[in-house]
Symmetry: C2
């Protein structure tokens, strides 16, 4: 099969990418139509046409990046067949990066914004539920005896660790990786 | 021994209590000197005298309540001598309350405010470190084989779960309690 080149990003994609890049740079409230238009190289009028309001654009951009952050790293890790190895790889991908990573800043900005935006809150909650379910199904298929407690504990611990690391950038992820890997290991036949 | 009545709260204590009660009611930025003075029944001039600025008062009130929330519940639980029973009791105390509990709203408001307040961030991080250390020491004394991974994992998972529950009030704590209790149980001799 020949490699097919990706199509160029659509205007809508360019607008969403520009908004997502701006959230960690200028903060949630600083993402204005004017700034997004400048960054995306489009006329600010087309933003309204493609995504509705600037509030809606911020939500679409944030939720899309948050899903990408978690699902991308988790997807790569779950290509491993051995559950403890997969959990270790997943945690290394999620918890060992630079705490000034723009994706983590975007996550924190979004959680802050969700305190005043019920729709954003519901959309982030839905992504978390999906993530938990995906991990649960994978652990079930790979022979983990109590997949629901494992999936809920891993998901909560990763979120909590990322939050704690935003407060304290020196926090060492090694003990967390050891604790969660052991949790899965003990449940294998 | 006769019961000794508690001394009446000092003016400083009344001011801090009033600010702490207002944070979940009116939001971080809504806690003004005027509102605190009204609630505490003091002249707004004395706030400056007792705690410096309103920003400093918000920080003192928030950190004191956050410490009280965690340390109180954990302290009660760690009176149990059996580690799995203590961890279960601790998690029931922390994770099964109403997600509209004013103490949880205060915690979320404080995390949001910490995104723009480095001193608040450092103070919350210091409280978390102390909590982790306390749990680590207790697990060590009670024969848990790998106390550091257990303490880090439990602390992260509780924080993450509380955060996820603010986003999704229907989240069930039972699988988390099962997962973390098992983590400790497997490490006993």
């Amino acid at each position: 099969m020949n490699d097919v080149p990706s199509p160029p990003p659509s205007t809508r994609e360019k607008i969403i990418e520009a908004a997502a890049a701006l959230i960690p740079e200028v903060g949630w409230g600083g993402v204005t139509s004017r700034r997004v238009a400048e960054r995306a190289g489009v006329n600010s009028g087309v933003i309204h046409y493609h995504v509705g309001s600037i509030g809606e654009l911020r939500r679409i951009a944030a939720v899309s990046k948050i899903r990408g952050f978690f699902l991308g790293r988790i997807g790569d890790a779950l290509a491993q067949e051995d559950p403890p190895a997969a959990v270790e790889l997943m945690l290394r991908g999620l918890c060992t990066g630079d705490s000034h990573d723009p994706e983590l800043l975007l996550l924190y900005e979004s959680l802050v914004a969700a305190s005043r935006d019920d729709q954003l809150r519901a959309e982030i909650a839905a992504s978390l539920t999906q993530l938990r379910q995906w991990l649960h199904d994978w652990l079930t298929e790979h022979g983990v005896a109590r997949p629901l407690p494992a999936a809920v504990t891993i998901t909560a611990a990763v979120d909590g660790f990322l939050l704690q690391r935003m407060l304290d950038p020196d926090l060492d992820p090694a003990p967390l990786i050891e604790g969660l890997t052991a949790l899965v290991e003990q449940q294998l036949p």
